[in-house]
Homo-oligomer: 160 residues x 3
Amino acid sequence: MRIEARLKELNISLPEPIKVPPSFRQTFPFVRVHDNRAYVSGHGPTNPDGTLAKLLGKVGAEVTQEQAYGAARLTGLAIIASLKQELGDLDRVEKWLRVFGMVNSAPGFKNQPAVINGFSDLIIEVWGKEAGRHARSAVGLAELPFGLPVEIEAEILIKP
Amino acid sequence: MRIEARLKELNISLPEPIKVPPSFRQTFPFVRVHDNRAYVSGHGPTNPDGTLAKLLGKVGAEVTQEQAYGAARLTGLAIIASLKQELGDLDRVEKWLRVFGMVNSAPGFKNQPAVINGFSDLIIEVWGKEAGRHARSAVGLAELPFGLPVEIEAEILIKP
Amino acid sequence: MRIEARLKELNISLPEPIKVPPSFRQTFPFVRVHDNRAYVSGHGPTNPDGTLAKLLGKVGAEVTQEQAYGAARLTGLAIIASLKQELGDLDRVEKWLRVFGMVNSAPGFKNQPAVINGFSDLIIEVWGKEAGRHARSAVGLAELPFGLPVEIEAEILIKP
Protein backbone atom coordinates (compact mmCIF):
# COMPACT_ATOMS: atom_id res chain seq x y z
CA MET A 1 0.00 0.00 0.00
CA ARG A 2 2.71 2.41 -1.04
CA ILE A 3 0.40 5.02 -2.56
CA GLU A 4 -1.98 4.94 0.42
CA ALA A 5 1.02 5.57 2.68
CA ARG A 6 2.13 8.42 0.45
CA LEU A 7 -1.34 10.00 0.60
CA LYS A 8 -1.26 9.81 4.40
CA GLU A 9 2.23 11.32 4.46
CA LEU A 10 0.96 14.21 2.32
CA ASN A 11 -2.08 14.56 4.57
CA ILE A 12 -4.41 13.97 1.62
CA SER A 13 -7.86 12.45 2.22
CA LEU A 14 -9.67 11.06 -0.78
CA PRO A 15 -13.32 12.05 -1.30
CA GLU A 16 -16.12 9.50 -1.24
CA PRO A 17 -17.01 7.90 -4.60
CA ILE A 18 -18.84 10.32 -6.87
CA LYS A 19 -22.52 10.97 -6.21
CA VAL A 20 -24.03 12.18 -9.45
CA PRO A 21 -26.87 14.75 -9.41
CA PRO A 22 -30.37 13.16 -9.35
CA SER A 23 -31.10 14.40 -12.87
CA PHE A 24 -28.06 12.57 -14.23
CA ARG A 25 -28.74 9.23 -15.91
CA GLN A 26 -25.32 7.60 -15.86
CA THR A 27 -24.80 5.32 -18.83
CA PHE A 28 -21.03 4.82 -18.46
CA PRO A 29 -18.44 3.75 -15.87
CA PHE A 30 -16.04 6.28 -14.33
CA VAL A 31 -13.14 3.98 -15.19
CA ARG A 32 -12.97 1.36 -17.94
CA VAL A 33 -10.27 -1.27 -17.51
CA HIS A 34 -8.83 -3.58 -20.12
CA ASP A 35 -5.62 -5.54 -19.71
CA ASN A 36 -2.92 -3.04 -18.68
CA ARG A 37 -4.91 0.11 -19.38
CA ALA A 38 -7.38 2.14 -17.34
CA TYR A 39 -9.37 4.68 -19.33
CA VAL A 40 -10.70 7.39 -17.01
CA SER A 41 -13.95 9.14 -17.94
CA GLY A 42 -14.23 12.91 -17.70
CA HIS A 43 -14.30 13.89 -14.02
CA GLY A 44 -15.02 17.20 -12.31
CA PRO A 45 -14.22 18.48 -8.81
CA THR A 46 -16.14 16.97 -5.90
CA ASN A 47 -16.72 17.67 -2.22
CA PRO A 48 -15.40 15.21 0.42
CA ASP A 49 -18.84 13.48 0.39
CA GLY A 50 -18.60 12.83 -3.38
CA THR A 51 -21.16 15.41 -4.47
CA LEU A 52 -20.16 17.92 -7.14
CA ALA A 53 -18.23 20.88 -5.75
CA LYS A 54 -20.42 23.98 -5.81
CA LEU A 55 -17.82 26.14 -7.52
CA LEU A 56 -19.44 26.35 -10.96
CA GLY A 57 -19.01 28.70 -13.89
CA LYS A 58 -16.49 29.92 -16.41
CA VAL A 59 -12.86 30.42 -15.52
CA GLY A 60 -11.92 34.05 -16.10
CA ALA A 61 -15.46 35.18 -15.18
CA GLU A 62 -17.30 33.56 -12.21
CA VAL A 63 -14.28 31.44 -11.27
CA THR A 64 -10.75 32.85 -10.85
CA GLN A 65 -7.64 31.14 -12.18
CA GLU A 66 -6.54 30.36 -8.62
CA GLN A 67 -9.93 28.84 -7.75
CA ALA A 68 -9.76 26.81 -10.95
CA TYR A 69 -6.30 25.52 -10.00
CA GLY A 70 -7.94 24.24 -6.80
CA ALA A 71 -10.80 22.73 -8.82
CA ALA A 72 -8.29 20.87 -11.00
CA ARG A 73 -6.64 19.49 -7.85
CA LEU A 74 -10.06 18.38 -6.51
CA THR A 75 -10.71 16.75 -9.89
CA GLY A 76 -7.49 14.81 -9.43
CA LEU A 77 -8.62 13.64 -6.01
CA ALA A 78 -11.97 12.52 -7.47
CA ILE A 79 -10.11 10.58 -10.17
CA ILE A 80 -7.83 8.91 -7.61
CA ALA A 81 -10.92 7.93 -5.61
CA SER A 82 -12.52 6.42 -8.74
CA LEU A 83 -9.31 4.51 -9.50
CA LYS A 84 -9.22 3.16 -5.94
CA GLN A 85 -12.80 1.99 -6.23
CA GLU A 86 -12.22 0.33 -9.62
CA LEU A 87 -8.74 -1.12 -9.09
CA GLY A 88 -9.00 -1.95 -5.38
CA ASP A 89 -5.35 -1.07 -4.82
CA LEU A 90 -3.82 2.21 -6.05
CA ASP A 91 -0.42 0.50 -6.29
CA ARG A 92 -1.76 -1.12 -9.46
CA VAL A 93 -1.26 2.27 -11.17
CA GLU A 94 2.12 1.97 -12.90
CA LYS A 95 2.36 5.04 -15.11
CA TRP A 96 0.20 7.99 -16.04
CA LEU A 97 0.24 8.20 -19.83
CA ARG A 98 -2.16 10.79 -21.22
CA VAL A 99 -4.26 13.54 -19.65
CA PHE A 100 -6.79 15.74 -21.40
CA GLY A 101 -7.55 18.82 -19.33
CA MET A 102 -10.62 20.86 -20.22
CA VAL A 103 -11.23 24.32 -18.78
CA ASN A 104 -14.65 25.98 -19.03
CA SER A 105 -13.24 29.23 -20.39
CA ALA A 106 -14.69 32.73 -20.40
CA PRO A 107 -13.96 34.70 -23.60
CA GLY A 108 -10.33 35.78 -23.54
CA PHE A 109 -9.14 33.37 -20.83
CA LYS A 110 -5.93 31.87 -22.20
CA ASN A 111 -4.16 30.33 -19.24
CA GLN A 112 -5.56 26.81 -19.30
CA PRO A 113 -2.13 25.24 -18.58
CA ALA A 114 -1.84 27.07 -15.23
CA VAL A 115 -5.28 25.71 -14.27
CA ILE A 116 -4.58 22.09 -15.19
CA ASN A 117 -1.29 22.29 -13.26
CA GLY A 118 -3.53 21.85 -10.20
CA PHE A 119 -4.09 18.31 -11.44
CA SER A 120 -0.58 17.57 -12.71
CA ASP A 121 1.08 18.88 -9.52
CA LEU A 122 -1.08 16.55 -7.43
CA ILE A 123 -0.36 13.48 -9.52
CA ILE A 124 3.40 14.10 -9.43
CA GLU A 125 3.29 14.79 -5.67
CA VAL A 126 1.62 11.43 -5.12
CA TRP A 127 3.25 9.17 -7.74
CA GLY A 128 6.57 10.96 -8.21
CA LYS A 129 8.03 12.24 -11.43
CA GLU A 130 8.76 8.94 -13.17
CA ALA A 131 5.33 7.30 -12.76
CA GLY A 132 3.31 10.50 -12.51
CA ARG A 133 4.35 12.53 -15.55
CA HIS A 134 1.94 12.41 -18.46
CA ALA A 135 1.42 13.73 -21.96
CA ARG A 136 -1.07 16.53 -21.61
CA SER A 137 -3.29 19.02 -23.40
CA ALA A 138 -4.95 21.86 -21.48
CA VAL A 139 -7.57 23.64 -23.54
CA GLY A 140 -10.60 25.94 -23.38
CA LEU A 141 -14.07 24.43 -23.78
CA ALA A 142 -17.19 26.47 -24.57
CA GLU A 143 -19.36 24.68 -22.02
CA LEU A 144 -18.99 21.78 -19.58
CA PRO A 145 -21.72 19.66 -17.95
CA PHE A 146 -23.54 21.42 -15.07
CA GLY A 147 -21.19 24.39 -15.50
CA LEU A 148 -18.16 22.52 -14.13
CA PRO A 149 -15.12 24.83 -14.24
CA VAL A 150 -12.79 21.92 -15.08
CA GLU A 151 -13.16 18.42 -16.52
CA ILE A 152 -10.29 15.94 -16.93
CA GLU A 153 -9.99 12.53 -18.59
CA ALA A 154 -6.94 10.24 -18.64
CA GLU A 155 -5.32 7.02 -19.80
CA ILE A 156 -3.20 5.10 -17.33
CA LEU A 157 -0.91 2.07 -17.44
CA ILE A 158 -1.88 -0.44 -14.75
CA LYS A 159 -0.84 -3.86 -13.47
CA PRO A 160 -3.44 -6.19 -15.01
CA MET B 1 -22.67 -12.76 -37.30
CA ARG B 2 -23.92 -12.21 -33.79
CA ILE B 3 -23.98 -8.38 -33.96
CA GLU B 4 -25.71 -8.37 -37.37
CA ALA B 5 -28.41 -10.63 -35.90
CA ARG B 6 -28.73 -8.33 -32.91
CA LEU B 7 -29.16 -5.30 -35.20
CA LYS B 8 -31.90 -7.13 -37.10
CA GLU B 9 -33.58 -8.12 -33.82
CA LEU B 10 -33.54 -4.43 -32.76
CA ASN B 11 -34.87 -3.42 -36.18
CA ILE B 12 -31.82 -1.22 -36.77
CA SER B 13 -30.63 -0.55 -40.33
CA LEU B 14 -27.15 0.83 -40.75
CA PRO B 15 -26.66 3.82 -43.06
CA GLU B 16 -24.56 3.64 -46.21
CA PRO B 17 -20.86 4.49 -45.80
CA ILE B 18 -20.31 8.21 -45.26
CA LYS B 19 -20.50 10.48 -48.30
CA VAL B 20 -18.51 13.61 -47.44
CA PRO B 21 -19.61 17.00 -48.83
CA PRO B 22 -17.98 17.88 -52.19
CA SER B 23 -15.98 20.71 -50.59
CA PHE B 24 -14.39 18.26 -48.14
CA ARG B 25 -10.90 17.04 -48.99
CA GLN B 26 -10.56 13.92 -46.87
CA THR B 27 -7.00 13.31 -45.76
CA PHE B 28 -7.70 10.64 -43.12
CA PRO B 29 -9.49 7.29 -42.73
CA PHE B 30 -12.71 7.00 -40.72
CA VAL B 31 -11.20 4.10 -38.78
CA ARG B 32 -7.50 3.39 -38.19
CA VAL B 33 -6.71 -0.17 -37.16
CA HIS B 34 -3.58 -1.48 -35.51
CA ASP B 35 -3.29 -4.88 -33.85
CA ASN B 36 -6.14 -5.12 -31.34
CA ARG B 37 -7.22 -1.49 -31.48
CA ALA B 38 -9.54 0.46 -33.76
CA TYR B 39 -9.26 4.24 -33.49
CA VAL B 40 -12.44 5.86 -34.75
CA SER B 41 -12.20 9.36 -36.27
CA GLY B 42 -14.70 12.04 -35.31
CA HIS B 43 -18.08 11.18 -36.85
CA GLY B 44 -21.30 13.14 -37.14
CA PRO B 45 -24.90 12.06 -37.79
CA THR B 46 -25.76 10.85 -41.31
CA ASN B 47 -28.85 10.08 -43.36
CA PRO B 48 -29.54 6.49 -44.48
CA ASP B 49 -27.75 7.26 -47.78
CA GLY B 50 -24.57 8.29 -45.96
CA THR B 51 -24.86 12.05 -46.55
CA LEU B 52 -24.63 14.36 -43.55
CA ALA B 53 -27.91 14.71 -41.68
CA LYS B 54 -29.39 18.14 -42.31
CA LEU B 55 -29.98 18.91 -38.65
CA LEU B 56 -27.21 21.46 -38.14
CA GLY B 57 -26.57 24.12 -35.52
CA LYS B 58 -25.95 24.61 -31.85
CA VAL B 59 -27.64 22.49 -29.22
CA GLY B 60 -29.67 24.73 -26.94
CA ALA B 61 -30.38 27.13 -29.82
CA GLU B 62 -31.23 25.78 -33.32
CA VAL B 63 -31.21 22.17 -32.11
CA THR B 64 -33.09 20.94 -29.05
CA GLN B 65 -31.63 18.54 -26.50
CA GLU B 66 -34.04 15.83 -27.68
CA GLN B 67 -33.06 16.33 -31.33
CA ALA B 68 -29.41 16.21 -30.31
CA TYR B 69 -29.99 12.91 -28.48
CA GLY B 70 -31.26 11.59 -31.81
CA ALA B 71 -28.24 13.05 -33.60
CA ALA B 72 -25.92 11.26 -31.18
CA ARG B 73 -27.75 8.00 -31.92
CA LEU B 74 -27.38 8.61 -35.67
CA THR B 75 -23.69 9.32 -35.08
CA GLY B 76 -23.45 5.91 -33.41
CA LEU B 77 -25.06 4.27 -36.44
CA ALA B 78 -22.59 6.05 -38.75
CA ILE B 79 -19.70 4.80 -36.60
CA ILE B 80 -21.03 1.23 -36.64
CA ALA B 81 -21.30 1.44 -40.44
CA SER B 82 -17.68 2.67 -40.67
CA LEU B 83 -16.55 -0.17 -38.41
CA LYS B 84 -18.39 -2.70 -40.56
CA GLN B 85 -16.72 -1.34 -43.68
CA GLU B 86 -13.24 -1.35 -42.11
CA LEU B 87 -13.42 -4.60 -40.11
CA GLY B 88 -15.64 -6.62 -42.44
CA ASP B 89 -17.33 -8.36 -39.52
CA LEU B 90 -18.77 -6.43 -36.56
CA ASP B 91 -18.18 -9.46 -34.33
CA ARG B 92 -14.52 -8.44 -34.36
CA VAL B 93 -15.47 -5.64 -31.92
CA GLU B 94 -14.63 -7.03 -28.50
CA LYS B 95 -14.96 -4.09 -26.14
CA TRP B 96 -15.71 -0.40 -26.38
CA LEU B 97 -12.99 1.36 -24.38
CA ARG B 98 -13.09 5.16 -24.68
CA VAL B 99 -15.60 7.58 -26.17
CA PHE B 100 -15.17 11.33 -26.55
CA GLY B 101 -18.52 13.02 -27.13
CA MET B 102 -18.53 16.58 -28.42
CA VAL B 103 -21.68 18.71 -28.41
CA ASN B 104 -21.85 21.96 -30.44
CA SER B 105 -23.16 23.98 -27.52
CA ALA B 106 -25.06 27.25 -27.45
CA PRO B 107 -24.05 29.58 -24.60
CA GLY B 108 -25.49 28.23 -21.37
CA PHE B 109 -26.24 24.70 -22.61
CA LYS B 110 -24.90 22.40 -19.89
CA ASN B 111 -26.51 19.04 -20.49
CA GLN B 112 -23.96 17.41 -22.79
CA PRO B 113 -24.19 14.04 -20.99
CA ALA B 114 -27.92 13.70 -21.78
CA VAL B 115 -27.11 14.31 -25.46
CA ILE B 116 -24.27 11.81 -25.70
CA ASN B 117 -26.50 9.21 -23.98
CA GLY B 118 -28.08 8.86 -27.44
CA PHE B 119 -24.81 7.25 -28.50
CA SER B 120 -24.08 5.28 -25.34
CA ASP B 121 -27.62 3.87 -25.14
CA LEU B 122 -27.31 2.57 -28.71
CA ILE B 123 -23.93 0.94 -28.16
CA ILE B 124 -25.14 -0.83 -25.01
CA GLU B 125 -28.38 -1.93 -26.73
CA VAL B 126 -26.35 -3.54 -29.50
CA TRP B 127 -23.27 -4.90 -27.68
CA GLY B 128 -24.70 -5.38 -24.18
CA LYS B 129 -23.38 -3.92 -20.97
CA GLU B 130 -20.13 -5.87 -20.66
CA ALA B 131 -18.74 -5.22 -24.14
CA GLY B 132 -20.53 -1.94 -24.79
CA ARG B 133 -19.75 0.18 -21.75
CA HIS B 134 -17.01 2.74 -22.25
CA ALA B 135 -15.11 5.47 -20.45
CA ARG B 136 -16.65 8.70 -21.65
CA SER B 137 -16.44 12.46 -21.65
CA ALA B 138 -19.33 14.57 -22.95
CA VAL B 139 -18.38 18.20 -23.38
CA GLY B 140 -19.36 21.47 -25.07
CA LEU B 141 -17.43 22.60 -28.14
CA ALA B 142 -17.49 26.14 -29.53
CA GLU B 143 -17.86 25.03 -33.16
CA LEU B 144 -17.94 21.75 -35.07
CA PRO B 145 -17.30 21.14 -38.78
CA PHE B 146 -20.22 22.19 -41.06
CA GLY B 147 -22.21 23.07 -37.94
CA LEU B 148 -22.66 19.44 -36.88
CA PRO B 149 -24.64 19.34 -33.61
CA VAL B 150 -22.63 16.34 -32.34
CA GLU B 151 -19.28 14.74 -33.12
CA ILE B 152 -17.97 11.55 -31.51
CA GLU B 153 -14.63 9.73 -31.61
CA ALA B 154 -13.77 6.41 -29.96
CA GLU B 155 -11.18 3.75 -29.21
CA ILE B 156 -12.24 0.11 -29.42
CA LEU B 157 -10.71 -3.26 -28.60
CA ILE B 158 -10.95 -5.61 -31.59
CA LYS B 159 -9.96 -9.14 -32.57
CA PRO B 160 -6.82 -8.59 -34.68
CA MET C 1 17.83 7.49 -41.10
CA ARG C 2 15.09 7.09 -43.68
CA ILE C 3 12.83 9.85 -42.32
CA GLU C 4 15.73 12.31 -41.99
CA ALA C 5 16.58 11.63 -45.65
CA ARG C 6 12.95 12.14 -46.58
CA LEU C 7 12.83 15.49 -44.75
CA LYS C 8 15.97 16.60 -46.63
CA GLU C 9 14.45 15.47 -49.93
CA LEU C 10 11.34 17.56 -49.14
CA ASN C 11 13.53 20.49 -48.14
CA ILE C 12 11.98 20.53 -44.67
CA SER C 13 14.00 21.85 -41.72
CA LEU C 14 12.77 21.01 -38.26
CA PRO C 15 12.52 23.80 -35.70
CA GLU C 16 14.59 23.80 -32.52
CA PRO C 17 13.01 22.11 -29.49
CA ILE C 18 10.16 24.15 -28.03
CA LYS C 19 11.06 27.15 -25.87
CA VAL C 20 8.07 27.81 -23.63
CA PRO C 21 7.18 31.41 -22.65
CA PRO C 22 8.84 32.53 -19.36
CA SER C 23 5.45 32.64 -17.59
CA PHE C 24 4.83 28.99 -18.41
CA ARG C 25 5.55 26.51 -15.61
CA GLN C 26 5.85 23.24 -17.48
CA THR C 27 4.71 20.30 -15.42
CA PHE C 28 4.54 17.69 -18.21
CA PRO C 29 6.70 16.22 -20.99
CA PHE C 30 6.01 17.00 -24.65
CA VAL C 31 6.06 13.28 -25.43
CA ARG C 32 5.35 10.40 -23.03
CA VAL C 33 6.65 7.02 -24.15
CA HIS C 34 5.62 3.60 -22.94
CA ASP C 35 6.45 0.35 -24.71
CA ASN C 36 5.29 0.75 -28.32
CA ARG C 37 3.32 3.96 -27.84
CA ALA C 38 4.26 7.62 -27.88
CA TYR C 39 1.62 9.97 -26.49
CA VAL C 40 2.18 13.47 -27.82
CA SER C 41 1.09 16.43 -25.67
CA GLY C 42 -0.83 19.32 -27.21
CA HIS C 43 1.54 21.31 -29.41
CA GLY C 44 1.15 24.66 -31.16
CA PRO C 45 3.03 26.26 -34.06
CA THR C 46 6.60 27.42 -33.40
CA ASN C 47 9.24 29.53 -35.11
CA PRO C 48 12.48 27.91 -36.34
CA ASP C 49 14.12 28.84 -33.00
CA GLY C 50 11.46 26.95 -31.03
CA THR C 51 9.62 29.98 -29.66
CA LEU C 52 5.85 30.18 -30.17
CA ALA C 53 4.88 31.49 -33.59
CA LYS C 54 3.48 35.00 -33.26
CA LEU C 55 0.37 34.30 -35.29
CA LEU C 56 -2.16 34.26 -32.46
CA GLY C 57 -5.94 34.63 -32.34
CA LYS C 58 -9.13 33.01 -33.50
CA VAL C 59 -9.43 31.38 -36.90
CA GLY C 60 -12.16 33.12 -38.86
CA ALA C 61 -11.36 36.44 -37.16
CA GLU C 62 -7.72 37.51 -36.55
CA VAL C 63 -6.36 34.46 -38.38
CA THR C 64 -7.53 33.36 -41.86
CA GLN C 65 -8.22 29.75 -42.79
CA GLU C 66 -5.14 29.76 -45.05
CA GLN C 67 -2.91 31.12 -42.29
CA ALA C 68 -4.33 28.50 -39.94
CA TYR C 69 -3.51 25.74 -42.45
CA GLY C 70 0.08 27.00 -42.27
CA ALA C 71 -0.08 27.06 -38.47
CA ALA C 72 -1.25 23.42 -38.45
CA ARG C 73 1.73 22.52 -40.66
CA LEU C 74 4.09 24.34 -38.28
CA THR C 75 2.47 22.46 -35.40
CA GLY C 76 3.31 19.24 -37.22
CA LEU C 77 6.94 20.32 -37.57
CA ALA C 78 7.08 21.15 -33.84
CA ILE C 79 5.68 17.69 -33.04
CA ILE C 80 8.21 15.99 -35.31
CA ALA C 81 11.00 17.95 -33.57
CA SER C 82 9.67 16.81 -30.15
CA LEU C 83 9.54 13.21 -31.36
CA LYS C 84 13.11 13.43 -32.62
CA GLN C 85 14.27 14.77 -29.27
CA GLU C 86 12.41 12.10 -27.29
CA LEU C 87 12.98 9.07 -29.56
CA GLY C 88 16.45 9.95 -30.87
CA ASP C 89 15.66 8.45 -34.26
CA LEU C 90 12.52 9.34 -36.21
CA ASP C 91 12.64 5.93 -37.89
CA ARG C 92 11.30 4.55 -34.61
CA VAL C 93 7.89 6.00 -35.61
CA GLU C 94 6.02 3.06 -37.14
CA LYS C 95 2.46 4.29 -37.56
CA TRP C 96 0.48 7.37 -36.75
CA LEU C 97 -2.68 6.17 -34.97
CA ARG C 98 -4.80 9.01 -33.60
CA VAL C 99 -4.71 12.78 -34.01
CA PHE C 100 -6.87 15.31 -32.19
CA GLY C 101 -6.85 18.66 -33.97
CA MET C 102 -8.12 21.70 -32.10
CA VAL C 103 -8.84 24.97 -33.86
CA ASN C 104 -9.32 28.20 -31.87
CA SER C 105 -12.54 29.10 -33.65
CA ALA C 106 -14.27 32.45 -34.06
CA PRO C 107 -18.09 32.25 -33.86
CA GLY C 108 -19.37 30.74 -37.10
CA PHE C 109 -16.07 29.26 -38.30
CA LYS C 110 -16.94 25.71 -39.39
CA ASN C 111 -14.05 24.55 -41.54
CA GLN C 112 -11.80 22.97 -38.93
CA PRO C 113 -10.99 19.96 -41.18
CA ALA C 114 -9.44 22.21 -43.88
CA VAL C 115 -7.23 23.77 -41.18
CA ILE C 116 -6.02 20.49 -39.67
CA ASN C 117 -5.25 19.22 -43.20
CA GLY C 118 -2.11 21.38 -42.85
CA PHE C 119 -0.95 18.85 -40.29
CA SER C 120 -2.23 15.68 -41.97
CA ASP C 121 -0.80 16.64 -45.37
CA LEU C 122 2.66 17.11 -43.79
CA ILE C 123 2.60 13.80 -41.94
CA ILE C 124 1.58 11.89 -45.09
CA GLU C 125 4.21 13.74 -47.19
CA VAL C 126 6.89 12.64 -44.75
CA TRP C 127 5.79 9.14 -43.69
CA GLY C 128 3.74 8.12 -46.71
CA LYS C 129 0.15 7.00 -46.77
CA GLU C 130 0.49 3.65 -45.03
CA ALA C 131 2.43 4.80 -41.96
CA GLY C 132 1.21 8.39 -41.94
CA ARG C 133 -2.56 8.10 -42.08
CA HIS C 134 -4.34 8.53 -38.76
CA ALA C 135 -7.79 8.55 -37.22
CA ARG C 136 -8.62 12.20 -36.72
CA SER C 137 -11.03 14.70 -35.23
CA ALA C 138 -10.81 18.38 -36.16
CA VAL C 139 -12.96 20.56 -33.93
CA GLY C 140 -13.55 24.12 -32.73
CA LEU C 141 -12.32 25.11 -29.28
CA ALA C 142 -13.51 28.23 -27.41
CA GLU C 143 -10.01 29.23 -26.28
CA LEU C 144 -6.49 27.82 -26.53
CA PRO C 145 -3.44 28.63 -24.38
CA PHE C 146 -1.80 32.01 -25.20
CA GLY C 147 -4.31 32.42 -28.04
CA LEU C 148 -2.74 29.69 -30.19
CA PRO C 149 -4.76 29.34 -33.41
CA VAL C 150 -4.21 25.57 -33.49
CA GLU C 151 -3.27 22.87 -30.99
CA ILE C 152 -2.74 19.21 -31.85
CA GLU C 153 -2.17 16.06 -29.78
CA ALA C 154 -1.49 12.55 -31.07
CA GLU C 155 -0.90 8.88 -30.31
CA ILE C 156 1.75 7.06 -32.30
CA LEU C 157 2.96 3.47 -32.66
CA ILE C 158 6.73 3.26 -32.18
CA LYS C 159 9.50 0.67 -32.12
CA PRO C 160 10.11 0.15 -28.38
